[in-house]
């Protein structure tokens, strides 16, 4: 009689899910590998080169801001009728990128997706830095950033208050809440790992700095119990928050009556687009990081494949959004809506529209092919293509709707100036500078969460 293979294996092996990280890792090897990246005295030469270039670009951003504040926003290309251009395109682009970090850290936690564990820390850092870049654009677009506190309900001698019926003030509340909650979530996740760094650090100064940041964390079971509760509650709070943020961002457009903006599909279509762009950015960052720091055991091909599948799914939702925009412009029976879509197809910005369709709808379909999902180089290339496509999407939504709205006598073309580009490229440098500092000084993978998914972490009864 043949033996039943299921009966011959021990019960704990049949029920345990397939591992998401490489084999042979232990508590000590995981701890030492990840903490050594932050604690090592020797900084790799590549880090200096990358951080140096990013820092120079960040300086370009500071220079642009300085010139902008001294001169006024006239140095940018936006003017009536295109009163919103790069400042809002880049704001929406950056905010959207941030959404993947919260999705990975909160939604995938609630859905018990263990593979999130290797990528959540740096995805959360990405969120935080992307939101910082995003916030700069509306702040500087006010022209007088030193009066930014007027956006908040602060009692003042003028007796003036913000307009709570305006989506722009909803945006202020949504984005500042999002930035705060993302920072809290990130820092709470870091506390146990900061304690690990404190205990592993050899240098006295490092011990003191990490020790202060760890706030005396000692890994007590009673503390862990509350910590896990807090982490889960934060995830539960961040999940509706992340959906609300891009919904409110889309309200900035959808509440207006400009053709192409006044549509109910905007909130879901914006949220899906945000996750699409965000996962593209996570891939763009994860692929070089795992290579340079030898983290292939932690960020495995399975992670990259899963992310590419999410990109494929959200990309299709975005494609549905483009289809619905086209359909509704015909179905609405409105002359202006119909003209808006024909202007996108055939107008002066048509090359950008078709590039957007190419980048966001056509090219990512090769992710259906298994071989493409298994190729790191192909995934990296597609992630860049999607980032460009999502930027073009915001350009099309904002510029094509505004430059030809209702009265042909007030139509005009929009051209970005050098300072538009320098601000945009500068924020990319600022973002990458922060990322470089983060991977150098903080654990880029959550050490304590990796410990929980190791085989030796299971309590055998």
């Amino acid at each position: 009689m043949r033996e039943n293979p299921l009966e011959s294996t021990p019960p704990d092996q049949t029920i345990s899910p397939p591992s998401v990280i490489g084999p042979g890792l232990t508590f000590s090897s995981v701890t030492d590998k990840i903490s050594s990246i932050a604690l090592s005295r020797r900084t790799p030469l590549g880090w200096f080169i990358g951080a140096g270039i990013s820092f120079l670009l960040a300086m370009l951003m500071l220079y642009t801001i300085g010139y902008l504040v001294l001169t006024g926003i006239g140095i940018w290309g936006n003017n009536i009728p295109v009163g919103w251009a790069f400042d809002i395109i880049n704001f929406v682009w950056w905010i959207g990128i941030g959404h993947a970090g919260t999705l990975i850290s909160a939604i995938l936690l609630l859905l018990r997706q263990q593979w999130r564990t290797s990528i959540n820390r740096f995805a959360e850092a990405m969120t935080l830095f992307a939101v910082a870049c995003a916030g700069l654009f509306p702040l500087l677009h006010t022209g007088r950033p030193w009066l930014a506190h007027w956006l908040f309900p602060v009692p003042n001698t003028m007796g003036v208050w913000p307009q709570f019926r305006s989506p722009l003030i909803w945006d202020v509340f949504a984005v500042s809440t999002y930035a705060t909650v993302s920072a809290l979530f990130w820092f709470i996740g870091l506390i146990p790992d900061l304690a690990t760094l404190r205990d592993r650090a050899k240098k006295h100064s490092a011990k003191i700095i990490y020790g202060m940041l760890a706030m005396g964390w000692r890994g007590s079971a009673r503390h862990w119990h509350r910590y896990e509760t807090a982490y889960l509650l934060l995830a539960g709070l961040a999940t509706p928050l992340v959906v609300s943020v891009h919904t409110v961002v889309s309200f900035d457009f959808a509440i207006g009556i400009v053709p192409g903006w006044h549509t109910t599909i905007f909130p879901p279509y914006f949220v899906a687009g945000a996750i699409y762009a965000g996962f593209a950015m996570v891939l763009t960052l994860a692929i070089p990081l795992r290579k340079w720091y030898g983290l292939e055991q932690y960020i495995t091909m399975r992670h990259l494949r899963n992310m590419s599948k999410i990109m494929l799914a959200t990309g299709l939702i975005v494609a549905y959004g483009y289809m619905m925009e086209t359909f509704m412009s015909w179905y609405s029976g409105s002359t202006y809506e119909k003209y808006m879509i024909l202007n996108r197809f055939r107008g002066p910005y048509a090359p950008m529209y078709w590039s957007l369709i190419m980048c966001n709808v056509v090219l990512p379909q090769i992710l259906w092919i298994r071989k493409v999902r298994h190729s790191v180089a192909a995934l990296f290339a597609i992630s860049i293509v999607v980032s460009i496509g999502m930027w073009l999407e915001r350009f099309i939504i904002i510029v094509t709707s505004l430059h030809r709205d209702f009265l042909p006598s007030s139509w005009a073309m929009y051209q970005p100036t050098f300072w538009d580009w320098s601000m945009f490229v500068g924020t990319i440098g600022f973002f990458l500078s922060l990322m470089f500092l983060f991977v150098r000084f903080l654990p880029m993978i959550s050490i304590f969460e990796i410990r929980t998914i190791l085989p030796e972490a299971a309590v055998k009864e």
């Binding site: 232990t26 508590f27 000590s28 701890t31 309900p153 007796g159 003036v160 208050w161 913000p162 307009q163 709570f164 019926r165 989506p167 509340f173 949504a174 809440t177 705060t180 909650v181 809290l184 709470i188 146990p192 304690a195 690990t196 404190r198 205990d199 592993r200 020790g211 202060m212 706030m215 005396g216 964390w217 000692r218 890994g219 007590s220 079971a221 009673r222 503390h223 862990w224 119990h225 509350r226 910590y227 896990e228 509760t229 807090a230 509650l233 934060l234 709070l237 961040a238 509706p240 928050l241 609300s244 409110v248 309200f251 304590f448 410990r451 929980t452 030796e456 972490a457 299971a458 309590v459």
Partner: protein, 175 residues
């Protein structure tokens, strides 16, 4: 000598959970276990079941919700009423996004600061940090500390008891 407790070291999560269960059954209550990652069974073995944290977060969320809505109402209808075509000043649908964001914000702040406060953090010094190998508690080692304020604590008897549980190393901690 003013004793804080006895700190026993264990090598595996299974060992520390078993040891904690035995200690709890033996009648020890004033004790704590230290691990490099959260172990659900371990807090259960210590008799930790409920946390007040969800209540703190709920209260925070309610404060945010009522605060956010009241802010919108007070500003739009009381402090700075704008008559735009006779539209109602108390336009509640327009107040929902800000109310929602304030709810999430205060609830999240309550979750983080409530957790830190209930855990007594930041706490720069704690007697357990004096244990010579305690640095490994954030790496790969598990500790069980039976504190001297436990009524059943007796330095010799407790030490023998911990030895019997398979502790690899036992040290006396001073206050």
């Amino acid at each position: 000598m003013n004793v804080y407790g006895l700190m026993a070291e264990f090598e595996s999560p299974t060992a520390i959970v078993a040891a904690t269960r035995f200690a709890y059954e033996e009648g020890y209550r004033r004790m704590d276990a230290y691990s490099p990652y959260p172990i659900e069974e371990l807090s259960e073995a210590l008799g930790v079941h409920h946390s007040r944290l969800p209540l703190v977060v709920l209260i925070g969320g309610l404060i945010g919700c009522f605060g956010g809505y009241s802010l919108c109402y007070w500003v739009s209808a009381v402090a700075y009423p704008l008559n735009i075509g006779g539209r109602p000043l108390h336009s509640w649908p327009a107040f929902i996004p800000v109310t929602f964001e304030c709810t999430i914000l205060v609830a999240a702040l309550a979750a983080v600061f409530g957790m830190l406060a209930l855990n007594g953090l930041p706490q720069p010094y704690h007697p357990v940090f004096d244990a010579p190998r305690f640095e490994l508690a954030t790496r790969n080692t598990f500790f069980l500390c039976i504190e001297a304020r436990d009524p059943k604590f007796d330095i010799e008897k407790t030490r023998t008891f911990l030895h019997g549980l398979g502790a690899t190393d036992i040290v006396v901690l001073e206050r």
